[in-house]
Symmetry: C3
Subunit: 150 residues, 3 copies
């Protein structure tokens, strides 16, 4: 089943591509790779929530925000090359705005990783780095970037 | 117009390649990519400023430091493959040392992105991730790495 | 001398591949690249130490933890493609959990970079980004990811 068909079966819709937060583009294709910009949990142009994991945002909410970041990233990939051109999700880097002592970044980012698995199956199995950072743009709790092979 | 000609027209000069801050090299070419090391705002071997955005460093100064990081990165690319070999700037990752509550990382990194646009035109349009981090090497306020296609 | 032979000469043994901390895989090969997941200083499934550089962990200990991250990363590469398939270490990104004011991330990551040099010689010379972050998964003091050419 294609990624687009699977997305539909999951009841998910790719959002419009979010306007970049600065003087850059949402993604670049080079050879057989697409590198996305870091994607924030924007919904309809507004941040779905702001704050840090371990303070204003709990892990379950963080997982949903990570899913939103992934949908935004996939919208960007779809806009550039078409989602069904994706051969493999290669790498996910997930930055989690973390209050002191919050170390469950992997649990938060499982929201992203599991959604990629549901959409792409085996082709969604990716390498991942999870990092807890001090602050993210516009107060975002989570930021996610993808490298995909097309 | 070539990137080198454009740089000259902008009145900019590539600095000497900064000595890496550790046991690594400034950049690696592999196939059609160059990956640079994270570049700090070093000028003549000394940090142009130290401190955090949202505390000692304001956004306008951060933008100028981001420009300095980009010039250092381009010096490294030029030294390795020649600046005019660049086909496309693919990805910029910008780490901004951020005091609590500072969330204007995108504005700071626009200093880098806009300079790349001036130098490379359409070929300078890149994907970007902006992150606010706790600390950077040697107290740097900004660190920037590039992936370019050659 | 092959990387495996050199590893043996150094008295080092690749550990078993650590179970990923989430819903991802330890590494992905795509074309002539292997991207590893961020590797933590796990030994036998447990974190070798927890805490931050500049607080609970000193630079010398951080360097040893960075070496452990590299051995875990190389185990992952070996499991996927065989260590002797590595043509070049391209990029190292090192995240260092940093207490306020700790700016010696490069010194910590030299533990990683120098070990790669000992194992791979010239082929181990890589570009590197060093960043000081707020928190890392499971309280890890250091996390390291590699991009290698195979």
């Amino acid at each position: 089943m294609s990624a687009l068909a699977r997305l539909s079966e999951l009841g998910l819709v790719l959002p419009p591509v979010a306007t970049p937060a600065g003087a850059y583009v949402p993604a670049v294709r080079t050879g057989s790779f697409v590198f996305t910009a870091g994607q924030l949990p924007l919904v309809g142009g507004a941040m779905a929530a702001t704050g840090k994991l371990g303070a204003e945002i709990d892990t379950a909410q963080g997982q949903r925000l990570a899913e939103t970041c992934v949908l935004n990233a996939l919208a960007v990939v779809h806009d550039l090359v078409g989602l069904d051109a994706v051969v493999r999700v290669v790498k996910v880097v997930g930055y989690v705005a973390s209050a002191p002592g919050f170390t469950a970044q992997p649990a938060v980012l499982n929201g992203a990783s599991e959604l990629l698995g549901k959409i792409f199956g085996q082709a969604g199995r990716h390498a991942r780095s999870a990092v807890g950072v001090a602050e993210l743009p516009l107060g975002a709790p989570v930021e996610i970037e993808l490298v995909v092979e097309v």
